[in-house]
Structure formats: structure tokens, C-alpha cells
């Protein structure tokens, strides 16, 4: 029977992180994945990630995936694909099924489980019809297989997954007829909602999908309004013509293997439901078995990667490859990074849940820590939005330039008003006119005097929330620059319909610049000329439809 020091199950960001770090410190690692390609969900993430420089923020998900694979390769990590873990037995013996045809037994001193998350189901009459699918399934089809799942798509769920995949469906050439959200407000980031709303996709809050109809596949969907207690209001049914319905209602940790291995589970709805407990070394309640990534709680790729790296380092330390002082310092660094990612009003619930997981695993009452959690809960306010905020609201935030500065000429306009851990705009500005201080979740502050309106920041923002307003483009016209990631690109000299933040037409505009600089990393920056009075309204154009 083959013996390894560490078996890592799952080659997504968490598993890759664990394998890379453990290898770096000398551990012999075998990384397995049941799929025939590594990377987990990374390669279908074609958008730029949020976060900080260490998290490769501003980089597209698939580039992060390639970067990790290179790192794994340089560390000599052995990866076995199409390898399924059938069971974890006593004495660290693991049963593997390789390529569906061969069973192998393996002995491992340590195991890291990084089995990720699985999408939740939402049932409604007609949900089994072909054409109804998980949002992630649609994302795989468009971004990996390059096939459209349908042409008229209804998205259920306005969390980040639903918003991002709706955007990507538009990029792929599909028509997204609407996003339906049961809650009374948009649940994902406003900047993601902003991208889809300015592109013309309506978001129906307090709505749910009641039924889907069709003979052999989806032909129409019935949506209804919900009251304050989330009950269907009779008589509010609206029939929508659609051929595809994507379900995006959250993820559950994929705990099958952890459960089989005997790890203790607890229920944390803020992190996706039942999950295996872990301590501050990422070790589960089963000695020698560590967990990381979405398995330990549904979050994002950057926290999955950091948890994976921490688990890998903990394994290395437990095997004697890192001395206790060095390990303590490394551990502290990673917890610092993780706490930053969980900061702000979007992260606080996960932060509290993670603190409670650590308290559970310590099996002793830590009253002060629990008190901190309750205080954090009571003091953190996340403002709810049914739609994009008004201009007046944006103007109250430090990223929006004053009217007097706008009238002086080209200046950046940052419409980012939620505290999300993210700061690529700071490094992008050659004049150091953007500041996010001292916490990475703080809102960007624009120094209007330093800002020259050069526009380099526009493409750096993963939320596509930065614009450049040039009031003095000509004596009669103003110019507005914005990010654009759709085909076909508009042509210089052409006319287009300028729209506002909600995608509503404002006025006809002229395309004056189409900037496809290589270091914008496939984000094109379009500049349009319009009436000066539209300077605070126009933020996008009606997408040009292909003639083909």
C-alpha cells in the first residue's frame, strides 16, 4: 500500500493552497480531485476578483487558477485527477477509485479535506424540466464549454453568484429577462447589481418563481410577488417568456466525505448550513484531518485559498517541518488576512460564525469572545437596497467629486458605497489620488485635487464602479468614460443611446474613444460625448446587438 504524508482532497483554491504550502515546507503531498481538470470553480470565474494585492485582486479568476497551478508545479505537488475518495477508514487508510476502473488503497499521515460547496436546490412545479439548471451549471456551459444554455434566461436569486452569472450570460450573448429575488432587497454587492441593471436587466425584489411550464423544456415561467412574511400574494402572477431558468439560491458545504470520516458537524446558516468544525489550525474534530475552503463555510475564493494555505502550514508544523515559533507567526499572518476578508458589513456574519466555530472546537466557554460577537452583531448595520441608490446618495460618499471639481474638467467618479474588502484602485492611480485607509473595507476616498482624470483606474475596479467625467470635453459637450466588456464593441464616431444607472435611456450620445489597452486586461474603456447636463446621469450605453 502506498504511503503519503499528506493527502489533499479537492484541487480547487483551498486544496491547491494546502498542497502548495505543505510542499513548500517539505511535506510529501498527493492532491486528488474527482474531475478531469484541476482548479475547482476557479476557471469559470472570468471576472476580476475583489480583495487585496496578496489576494491577486483585480485579477480574473482563471488567471488566478493558472497562477496556482504553476505554483503547485514549481513545488512539485503530485496531482491525480479523476480520482475519487470512496472512503476514509481507520488508521488513516483511504480507498480511492481512479478513472472509474481501478481501486487503490492509500495510507496518509494527514488529510486535508477541501471538497468545496454544492449549489442548493429550489423546488417549484416544473423545476425538473430541461432548461431549469443551477446557475453554476450555466456558468460552466458558457465559460468552459462555450455553449449557450438558452437564449432567454430568468435568474432566480440576486446574491453575488446570481448577479455575476447574469452578467456573464449577457457577455456570452444570451438575453437575461430578469432576476427574481425573494428578499425585499438585493442580497449581493451593489456594484454587481449596478453592472447588470445598467445593462438593462430588471431586478424584481420580493418576487419568487411560482411555476415553470413547457412540454419538453422550459417555455415560460410564472413569477409572483411576496408579502412581508414571504408568502405568495394571490393574483400577482406574471408570466414571463423564457427558455432557461437558472437557480442561484446559495451553496451548502460538501460535507459527505468529512461526515464519513467522522468529523463533528454543526449548523451555521450564515456559512451555508451544516459544516465540520475546525480549530485555529484548521484541524477538524478528527485528529489528523484538516478542512479548508467552502467545506468549512461558504465564502469566496480568496478566503478558501488562505484557509487552504493555513491548513497546509498547520500540517507541515504538525509533522515537524516548521518550528513552533515560526508556525505561530505564519498562523497569525493568515488569521490577520482572513479577518480582513471577513471585515465590513458583508463579512461580519461570517466573521461571527467563524469565531463561534473556533469557540465550539475549544469546548470551553469564552464569555468575552461571545460578548464581542453579540456586540458586533448589534452594531453592524448593512443598509438594504431594493435598487441602485439615487444620485444624491452617491454624492454623499467620498468617492464622488464635488460639482465645482467636475466643472473644472476631467475627474474620476467612484460610485462604490458598500464596505467590501477591496483596494486595487489605490495601486492603479499613478497620482495617488485614491485612498482606502486604514481598513481595506473602508470606502475609497477621492482626492479631487490630485486627480487628473487620466482614467487608468476605470479598468482596475473589479466592480466596474469607476467612471471619468470630463465636463469640458468641448464647448458644448461633456465626455463620460466607463468600462465595457461586451461584444460587439461600439465604433468611434458611431451613435448610441446613453443610459443611466438603471439602464433607462437618457439621451443620444456619440462614441469618441474605444480604449482596448493591453494592461486593462480585456476591460475596454469607452468614452462618449453627451450634453453637459447629463454628466451625473449617463453611466453606460444600450448594448449594441449583433446583426448576425
Amino acid at each position: 500500500m502506498r504511503e503519503v504524508e499528506l493527502l489533499v482532497v479537492g484541487a480547487g483554491p483551498a486544496g491547491l493552497g494546502a498542497a502548495i504550502e505543505a510542499s513548500r515546507y517539505g511535506v510529501k503531498v498527493l492532491l486528488v480531485d474527482d474531475k478531469d481538470k484541476p482548479g475547482g470553480q476557479l476557471f469559470k470565474q472570468i471576472h476580476k476578483f475583489f480583495g487585496s494585492k496578496e489576494h491577486l485582486a483585480g485579477t480574473r479568476g482563471f488567471d488566478i487558477g493558472l497562477h496556482l497551478l504553476k505554483e503547485a508545479d514549481s513545488q512539485g505537488v503530485e496531482i491525480s485527477l479523476q480520482t475519487k475518495v470512496l472512503g476514509i477508514m481507520e488508521k488513516g487508510i483511504i480507498s480511492l477509485l481512479v478513472e472509474e476502473k481501478e481501486m487503490k488503497l492509500l495510507k496518509a499521515k494527514r488529510i486535508v479535506l477541501a471538497t468545496g460547496g454544492v449549489e442548493k436546490a429550489l423546488s417549484f412545479p416544473g423545476w425538473t424540466l430541461p432548461g431549469v439548471m443551477s446557475a453554476g451549471a450555466a456558468q460552466t456551459l458558457i465559460n468552459i464549454e462555450r455553449v449557450l444554455p438558452g437564449e432567454r434566461i430568468l435568474m432566480v436569486g440576486s446574491g453575488n453568484v446570481g448577479l455575476i452569472i447574469s452578467y456573464q450570460l449577457l457577455q456570452a450573448g444570451a438575453d437575461v429577462v430578469g432576476i427574481v429575488e425573494a428578499a425585499p432587497s438585493i442580497t449581493g454587492y451593489l456594484v454587481h447589481a449596478g453592472k447588470v441593471m445598467r445593462a438593462g436587466i430588471p431586478i424584481y425584489t420580493s418576487h419568487t418563481i411560482k411555476e415553470v411550464r413547457g412540454k419538453k423544456s422550459v417555455e415560460e415561467a410564472v413569477i409572483t410577488t411576496l408579502d412581508k412574511r414571504w408568502n405568495i400574494i394571490e393574483g400577482t402572477e406574471k408570466t414571463v417568456s423564457a427558455d432557461t431558468v437558472c437557480i442561484s439560491v446559495g451553496l451548502n458545504p460538501n460535507g459527505q466525505l468529512a461526515s464519513l470520516a467522522g468529523c463533528e458537524f454543526k449548523f451555521f446558516p450564515e456559512l451555508g448550513g451544516f459544516l465540520p468544525l475546525h480549530d485555529d489550525n484548521m484541524e477538524s474534530t478528527k485528529k489528523g484531518i484538516y478542512i479548508a475552503g467552502d467545506l468549512s463555510g461558504i465564502e469566496e475564493a480568496n478566503s478558501a485559498l488562505d484557509e487552504g494555505r493555513l491548513a497546509g502550514i498547520s500540517v507541515a508544523a504538525s509533522l515537524g517541518y516548521i518550528d513552533s515559533n515560526r508556525f505561530a507567526k505564519l498562523k497569525e499572518d493568515y488569521w490577520d488576512r482572513l479577518n480582513k476578508l471577513r471585515g465590513g458589513p458583508f463579512g461580519y456574519k461570517r466573521s461571527i460564525a467563524k469565531k463561534r466555530i473556533l469557540l465550539s472546537s475549544q469546548q470551553k466557554e469564552m464569555r468575552d469572545q461571545e460578548r464581542d460577537c453579540i456586540e458586533l452583531e448589534e452594531n453592524t448595520k448593512l443598509k438594504n437596497y431594493k435598487s441602485i441608490p439615487s444620485l444624491k446618495e452617491f454624492q454623499e460618499f467620498p468617492g464622488y467629486p464635488s460639482l465645482s471639481r467636475i466643472k473644472k474638467g476631467a475627474v474620476a467618479c467612484i460610485e462604490c458605497i458598500q464596505e467590501i474588502p477591496c483596494d486595487p484602485c489605490v495601486a492603479a492611480c499613478p497620482f495617488k489620488a485614491i485612498n482606502i485607509n486604514p481598513y481595506i473595507t473602508d470606502l475609497p476616498y477621492l482626492d479631487e485635487n490630485k486627480c487628473k482624470g487620466c482614467g487608468v483606474c476605470i479598468a482596475s475596479c473589479p466592480g466596474q464602479a469607476i467612471f471619468v467625467l470630463n465636463y469640458n470635453y468641448s464647448s458644448e459637450k461633456a465626455a463620460i468614460s466607463f468600462p465595457y466588456e461586451y461584444l460587439p464593441y461600439p465604433k468611434i464616431g458611431g451613435k448610441a443611446v446613453g443610459v443611466n444607472r438603471k439602464g433607462e435611456p437618457v439621451a443620444e450620445v456619440e462614441i469618441v474613444k474605444v480604449d482596448k489597452r493591453a494592461n486593462f486586461d480585456k476591460t475596454t474603456v469607452i468614452t462618449i460625448a453627451c450634453d453637459k447636463k447629463c454628466i451625473n446621469q449617463i453611466r453606460f450605453i444600450e448594448r449594441i446587438k449583433d446583426d448576425a
Binding site: 474527482d34 474531475k35 478531469d36 472570468i46 480574473r60 454544492v118 449549489e119 425538473t128 424540466l129 430541461p130 432548461g131 431549469v132 439548471m133 443551477s134 453554476g136 451549471a137 450555466a138 460552466t140 456551459l141 458558457i142 465559460n143 464549454e145 462555450r146 455553449v147 449557450l148 444554455p149 438558452g150 437564449e151 457577455q171 456570452a172 450573448g173 419538453k216 423544456s217 466588456e485 461586451y486 461584444l487 480585456k522 475596454t524
Partner: protein, 109 residues
């Protein structure tokens, strides 16, 4: 459903080898390396199988090989999850009726 020939982020379609697969007796063109499910959807097929109890159509649902609704009979073997299985030259793919045995097929197709 359409193939995405050009994409603002992914660029132009890569050159891939065209191969022939047979779907319910009909020759279909697919690209080497893609999943059976993708090839079928690109060629307009959405109903991959019909269920045992209610004889209702099922197709691509979870996309990760978990729900088994995309199962079809491939080269005579039933319950092949087409969303995680890649096409091969000459592959014979058939709609699966119920559990995939010949009697079920004759009863309902």
C-alpha cells in the same frame, strides 16, 4: 443553442478537432474535448432522458456530475453522466428511458 464563437473575455473560439458522434441514430458534429452534454446542447438537444415513474423529460441540471439528470446511454452503457463525460470519435449516444433497459425503451419511445 448557440456556440459562443467570439467572447469579450475568452476571445475567439479555439481551433478544436471536429469529430462525429451518433445521437439517436443521427450523425452529429462535436468538438474533441467537450462534454457530451455541451455537444448535445450546442446541437439543440435538451431532453436527455425520460424518467421511470412519470415518463418526464430531464436534462442538464447541476453540471457537476451530482444530480444524474443528464444521464444517457453511451456506447450501450446506461447512466452515463454526460455533463462530466467527454465526447469521443464515433460515440453512440441514446436517450435513456427509465433505467435504460430495452423493455422500457420499447414501452414509451
Amino acid at each position: 443553442m448557440k456556440r459562443i464563437k467570439e467572447h469579450p473575455i475568452l476571445g475567439k473560439e479555439e481551433k478544436r478537432k471536429k469529430i462525429k458522434i451518433v445521437v439517436n441514430g443521427k450523425n452529429i458534429f462535436a468538438y474533441k474535448g467537450e462534454t457530451i452534454a455541451a455537444a448535445l446542447i450546442a446541437n439543440g438537444y435538451r431532453d436527455f432522458r425520460y424518467t421511470h415513474r412519470f415518463n418526464l423529460p430531464r436534462g442538464f441540471f447541476c453540471g457537476v456530475g451530482q444530480c444524474t439528470d443528464c444521464s444517457m446511454i453511451v456506447n450501450g452503457v446506461p447512466n452515463i453522466r454526460t455533463c462530466v463525460t467527454r465526447v469521443e470519435e464515433g460515440m453512440i449516444i441514446e436517450t435513456q428511458y427509465g433505467y435504460g433497459d430495452k423493455d422500457e425503451k420499447n414501452e414509451r419511445s
